[in-house]
Point group: C2
Amino acid sequence: MNVTRKGMLIVVSGPSGVGKGTVVHAFLERYQTARLSVSVTTRARREGEIEGVNYFFRTVPEFEKMIERGEFLEYMRVYGMNYYGTLRSHVFESMENGYDVVLEIDVNGAMRIKEVCPEAVLIFIAPPSMSDLKTRLYGRGTETDDVIERRYREAYVEMGYLRSYDYVVVNDVVDKAVDTMCHILDAERCRIARNEDLLNSIDEEIKKYD
Amino acid sequence: MNVTRKGMLIVVSGPSGVGKGTVVHAFLERYQTARLSVSVTTRARREGEIEGVNYFFRTVPEFEKMIERGEFLEYMRVYGMNYYGTLRSHVFESMENGYDVVLEIDVNGAMRIKEVCPEAVLIFIAPPSMSDLKTRLYGRGTETDDVIERRYREAYVEMGYLRSYDYVVVNDVVDKAVDTMCHILDAERCRIARNEDLLNSIDEEIKKYD
């Protein structure tokens, strides 16, 4: 890995049921410079979860102080209950160390990241079709119809943000979706705006020649 | 190949000596949906060259009539001698048939394409460094020092346009440069702006649900 190069910030969103977690997990296994961002949460730690690996666990008052101090790139409160947030310092330190940091967050968080880090790469994992998504949601068979119906409504709302993303990756076959994510990152690495060091060194050589 | 999907327009530039031809040739072998655009030229046909395969051969008066009729996306006249041009109809027909059309043209042509087709993907093949490029130019050993010196000056001018491109691909190892070009095209295919059909079909499904 090239640690001298600053990493990229990658936002991955997609509706519940699209298989986003599976794609992101397989992507992280494959793409050596990518690391999942560890979120801060106020929810209780579950058996086996490790501080700093699964989450940074904080109390609500602690979390709210961190909000006041502007420590979050984005945060949300789920149904007025638990907070979840992305720590600015955690993300930027990883990037400075050459890692491409992946945020798996919802559309609201993604829009917020786009505001504060316009150079972030926003990827939306989409189902091949909405009817396919419905089949996947019902196919799980682990939740009540009410829960599924709510997820499906939320999925519709999330899909409405698709046009604000940079890329859409259709999760038809997981392996292909993972390949595509890897290729998007390879391509983004070659974007002119991400190669200031190279361009500046060429400029220097051109000046010497003039 | 998916012929129902409109192809992309890919512009590849790079200074003389960078190995652009080798990279483009290997890329075309590898990337099944890509085709090199056949240029129109007024220069004499050489032994073995085939009309419509290597070039479309035209006389100077014919070429100038085509200019008047606006048949070119871009054209140039080399040292006041021969014309070279990219035929609008040839490019657009290939794209309509689902092919990604590759134009291997100089920086002026590329800037012209960017004006008339803002959705074109502009790739610049760069040497690892300018001193590396000088070594490559001299290493050929087939031209006089004057010719090399002129090429090198031109290379410097071309490099000055790098910031107007979308991507820079450093040709250090040919195979890696070709991989990168393939990945750039895969990524571009997933750009939101290139997936209007998918987005519209999702919009339709969302409207039905509301």
